[in-house]
Each structure stands twice: as structure tokens, then as C-alpha cells.
Symmetry: C2
Subunit: 427 residues, 2 copies
Amino acid sequence: MTQSPQLSLFARRAAGQAIGDLMKVGVEHPDCLSLAAGFVDESGLPADLIRSSVCRILNGPDRQAVLQYGTTPGTAAVRSVFLRHLARLEDNPDVDRLSPDRIVLTTGSQQLLCLLTQALFEPGDICLVAAPTYFVYLGVLEAVGARVIPVPTDEDGLHPDGLEQTLQRLDAQGDLPRVRLVYAVSYYDNPAGVSIAANRREQIVRIVCRWADRCPVRLLEDAAYRELHYDGPELNSLWSYDESGQNVILTQTFSKSFSPGLRVGFSVLPDDLVRPVCDLKANEDFGSPRFSQAIMADVLEQGSAYADHVQQIRNRYRIRRDAMLAAADEYFSSMDGVSWRKPDGGLYVWMTLPESVQTGFDSPLFTHAVEACRVIYVPGELCYPSTWNERPANRMRLSFGVLPPEQIREGMRRLAQAVRDILEQSA
Amino acid sequence: MTQSPQLSLFARRAAGQAIGDLMKVGVEHPDCLSLAAGFVDESGLPADLIRSSVCRILNGPDRQAVLQYGTTPGTAAVRSVFLRHLARLEDNPDVDRLSPDRIVLTTGSQQLLCLLTQALFEPGDICLVAAPTYFVYLGVLEAVGARVIPVPTDEDGLHPDGLEQTLQRLDAQGDLPRVRLVYAVSYYDNPAGVSIAANRREQIVRIVCRWADRCPVRLLEDAAYRELHYDGPELNSLWSYDESGQNVILTQTFSKSFSPGLRVGFSVLPDDLVRPVCDLKANEDFGSPRFSQAIMADVLEQGSAYADHVQQIRNRYRIRRDAMLAAADEYFSSMDGVSWRKPDGGLYVWMTLPESVQTGFDSPLFTHAVEACRVIYVPGELCYPSTWNERPANRMRLSFGVLPPEQIREGMRRLAQAVRDILEQSA
């Protein structure tokens, strides 16, 4: 008989992430409409572009080189192409003159979040996050034993004064030396669809730079949704305000704007973090698939092909977002205490229910929604640090990324019915 | 001013892996012939097969599904195809009837080595390894703070009696509860080209199974080179002797037999390790690229296409191995105290020099070889635990995977010249 496995503390901390529960519900209830899935719109995925790109590459001079091992951060040629892409997004030709040595390619941007966190955190080290924030990253932080502290956040994102006050409080408590990161999803965030407002961006970076004189804090800017912009202002990255380039880590991915099946993410790192991240990545996988990276670089170099594709999916997602907002209006606006906001991009609408209605996995609403009304959502409480006592229990993340407009409308109708049933039961 | 980064202990332990030094030497001395590189033969990489496969997939019914997110261990369909492939390698149809739920797909097999080690090891936990062994895995073990203990090894691989005695010694010392893994590269290993002999395989598995009653030890079988078989006996996997399937972890990769640029590895895990490994992988990257996995599965399903390809590259590598052995004969056989052996597969010849000739990065030989004779090798000492006092200093790993036969011969000529020069200087 084999003994049950003795798992490391790291593995035990990583166990039981909420994403597992969510997927289980999805699998066990295939008849449900899912407003929970974080997938992208499959019907918009660029099969033809990728096929053309593969044919071009595999008939070209690098046809075998792209199938060989690469270097851990990705080949210099591909990193240069991604830097050029970033220069276009930033609308700043100087970006193209940065050293490609500061670019590291990963398996989606998720791998960068994970490697960077493993590189910086000892148990008890502190990460400041918006609340709510990206729940998968909360799991990564939990696995390294980080202390996660929410920073006051409103409809304009992370609040600069709140950030400053939080750092002052940590300083007064003697905890400043433990602060490692401020984590921010800067564009149309997961889960709330909130962007950090233009007039807060420079301020936030300045605060981090100032405190970085006294403690090893950096800002981790997760710009995963950056290119899914539908309306509202164009925003500069937080990273663009970091003059030295040594205080902000910028991470992006082509999973949302192009194809998650390729799993290509890239990041710009401060000089002194490139080596530690690459050391961990070398142990982990030597490097992410060169073939995927070569496809992505090839597509970016084909005139306006990539830009045209992104414009197309923006149009598709805008229609879906508007379908969700219209359905929210239609089915929820008559309910007291229900609110939501229009996101300018991304894939999510964040909805607040009356205080009395809890949304968690074990709540009457969740059970009723799944089992009777056949609709799934992401319970909002997942998006707050589990140790935070003040986390609201009456929020939901609703995704408009996966379902077509008419199913989004039907999903919202079912969800409103579920909420109404629960309100009536408790009345 | 930003403070220099405070890195985690984990990151500091992962720093300064030898692979970095090796790559640096390669980059700084492009005029050198490299017998060091662990790459595969680029000219044999299957560009046409992959192009056909991509066209088939991206014109087919799953054209967009393969570009979407998948599940963390890989889709069930692809895992089933890989299981069928394993059944063919094992020549055992029962394997095909195993649950695909025990298969986990990773970014090469390297990622499995890393995730599994992170899942099992606390600092001070013990891994038993052959000596010499795969040096990148030694780096992974070092990063988690593992205690690495070499087991007596000879030309027939890991010695069963040596393994038994090592476990008895650890038991007597009270260290048995800390033993987590026995790690073995079972076919044509990196670095020594040694396979565990047929008559030792069952014995080794039985020893591990027996001790597993008393401590949480498992056998990690790294079968990366399994399909690069040129001559000598066909060998059953160690895994095939594990009747319960709960004591041996088998990991394989398509990086050597097909294309490392796709980075597709797969493993069969004991039931109770699937979840912990997937939890860590979910934090790390959600899943390796589905597109690469779909290509690999498609190729495997195209009649004899994959088998034909593997036969072709075997023929090519056999010629290169023979070129290296012939050159060793030609240039080294007249030197006293130099020995090597013929590997039946894989990519490496392991050479022992006279005791007086050290081979390390800082040795006169290494410097002379690179700077004067323009040839690079892998110093053998990298392939032993750095804490092991008895590690021999006079070995080299020579790769015949990358260079064509005539350059292998020239590289060996240069290397023999370097050794002869050093012997003469010290005479």
C-alpha cells in the first residue's frame, strides 16, 4: 500500500482553488447557460490567419528553426517584434528602442504573474490589490503564502489616496519592508470591468516610485484586456509613466486579442528582474513554445492583418456587451438595490445585488440559479482576498465573452428570475 | 532610486544554474564547434508533417476550438490519443484502457519534473538520483532545497542493491520519512547514454514499492529519450512493472522524437498526484498550448506518419553516434586512461579522461578547448549533486545530436588536441 502523498506546503496552499469548483459546476450542468466562463468568443478566433501564417513560416527559411528549442525568454527576433507592437499600442516610437533583453515571453501572461510572484514573495510578504481583483492571481498569491491587502477602489479603479494611506499604515505598523507588489489590472479589469482613470495613472506610479525608495515595492500592471477597447477614452499604460522603467512591470497577452490556444504572453521587466524570472522559467520549462511565438510574430508583421482582426473582435464584443447591458436594463432595472456599470472594454459586467442576497457557491441564489434556472455566474466573493472580513457577499461577475447575444439575453433573463425568486422567498 | 530586488529564497536557490554559463560560452564563442548543446538535429525537424497537420486541423471542424483555452491537463481527446501512443510503445493494449484522467500534458516533460518536485518537496526532503544524472533536474531540486543523494550506478544504470542499501542507510539514520523520490532517466540517459538494464528494471520498481509501505517514496521515470533507440535490446519501461500504477510516475516528451518547438510532454501519474500537479499548473499557466497539443495528436493519428518520422531520425542519429564513436576511436584510443561507451540510443557519449585532467568550467582544459581549440563540451561535474564530495572531476558529456557527422569528427579531433595539450603541459 502506498501512503497518501505528503504534499509540500506550497502544493497544499495551491489546492482547492475556486476555478476548480466553477469548472465542475459547468461540467455537471451542461444545460446551464454560462455567464461564468472566462473563455473568449470562439467563433471569432482567427483560424485562417493562423493557417496562412503557419504555411508562410513552414515554407520559409526558418521552417525548421521555429521547431527547435529556443532561448528561455524567447528569441531576440520575436521579442523585437513584440516590442514594436508595444510601441504602436503606446503610440511612442521610443518604446521600440528599448532593449529586447527586458522582454520575457511566457505561456500566456499568467505564467509571468506566477513566476514573478515566486521570485519575489516569501510567506508573509505583502501584495496590495484592488478589491475586487483577478481571482486566479489571488490563488497564486495564496500559494506563496503572501499577505494580500485590499486598497480602496471605486469606479475609477485603484484610489491613489487609498494607496498612499495603505502604505502609510503599513509603515506605521513596521510592515513596510514586507511590501513587494502593488497589483493592478489596469484596463477593463477582471472582474469589475473597471479601468484606472486617466487622471489617476501618473499619480499611482509616482506613489509607488516614491515608496520604492524605502521598500522593495513595484507595481505589477496586468494589461491583459488592453486591446479589447470598445468605447470611452484611450488610456496610456501605467508603465508609460515609469520614467526609469525600473518600478513597473508590464505584462500583456495575445490570449484575449488573438488566440488563447497559442498561449503567448509577453512582459517588460525592470533590468534586475529579468534574470531571476528567467532562472525560474528555465527550471520550469526552458522556454514557452517557440512555434506559437513565431506564429504570433509573423501575424504582427503582416501589414494590418492583426489590427484588422482586433477591430473585428472589438465590434463583436461591443455588440455582446451592449446585449448584456440591454438585458440588465430589461430584467433588473425594476429591482431595488441592484446596480451595474457599463465597462468600456474587456469581457465582464460586475453586478451588485441587494445586501440581503448572497451570491457565494453555498448560497441559496447560486444553487437556485444553477439547478432551477439553469444559469451560472461567478460569485463575487472569489474576487476578494479570502482573509478580508469586509468583503461584500452580494456581487456577481457576468461574462459576455462566450455566448452569442441572444443567449446572453436569455441568460440574464434566467438570472433575474433566480434573483427575484430568492428575494420573494426571503420577503 | 529603486532598491535592489529582494528575491525569495526559492529564486535565490534557482539562480546561477550551469546552463546559463554554457549558453554564455556558446554565444561568446560562435566560432566553436559545440559538442555541448542539448538541442536536436534541426535538419531532421518535421516541417512538412506539421504544415499538413495544421492545414488539416484549421480546415476541419475543430478549427476554432483548438485556438480556444483548454483544460489544465489538456483536453480528454488529446490525452486519449497520447495514451494510445503509449500503449503502442509499451506493446500493451491494456494501457489504452487506463483512464485518460491520469494523463497530464505539460510544456515539455521539464514542466512536469518541476511541478511534481514543487508539489512533493519541502526543504530538506530527499531525492535519490543516479550519479551522474540530468543536470537541469538537479537545478530544479536545488531550487526547492531538496537533499540530493546519489545512488551507486554503473554501466547498467541505477544499481538495485545500491538503491536498497541507500534506503536502509537512510532508515538507520532516521531520514526515511524525508524520502520523496527516486529519479531515473531510464533510457539512454542524459548525460551518460546509459539505460537501466532489463534485468534490473523490475527489481528497482519492487524495491521502491516495498519501501513505499514505510515512507512516501515514488519512482519518477524520465523517459525523454525512449524513442531515440538505435540498437541493442528493446526495454520495457520501469512504469510497466508498477502493477498498482500508484508508485511510478512516467514522464515522456515529443521534444526529442518530434519537435521541441511545440513543447509537448505528457505524463502518467498515480491517482493521488493528478490533482496536486494540476492545481500548481493551473496557477502557473492554466494549461500548455492547446494548439501544439492538437498538432501532436493529429500527427499521431495519421497512419504511420509519426512512426516513419521517428524511424528516419533514428537512422540519422545512429549515423552521428557512429561518427562520434569512430572519431573517439581515431583520436582518443591512443591515450591512456581515456574511456567511453557506446550508447544504444539518445544523444550523448560520456567520456572519462585521466584522473589528472579536470574538465570543469574553471579548468585549464575547458579554457584551452574553448579559446585555443574552439570546441565546447559539458563539464561532467555539473551532472552530480554539487554537495557530493566524491563527484569525479574528469568526465565530459559529448552530444552528437546537433552537428553533422563531418563536424562531429572535427570537433572530436579538436577536443583530443585540447586534452593532449593539457596532458603534455602537466607532464
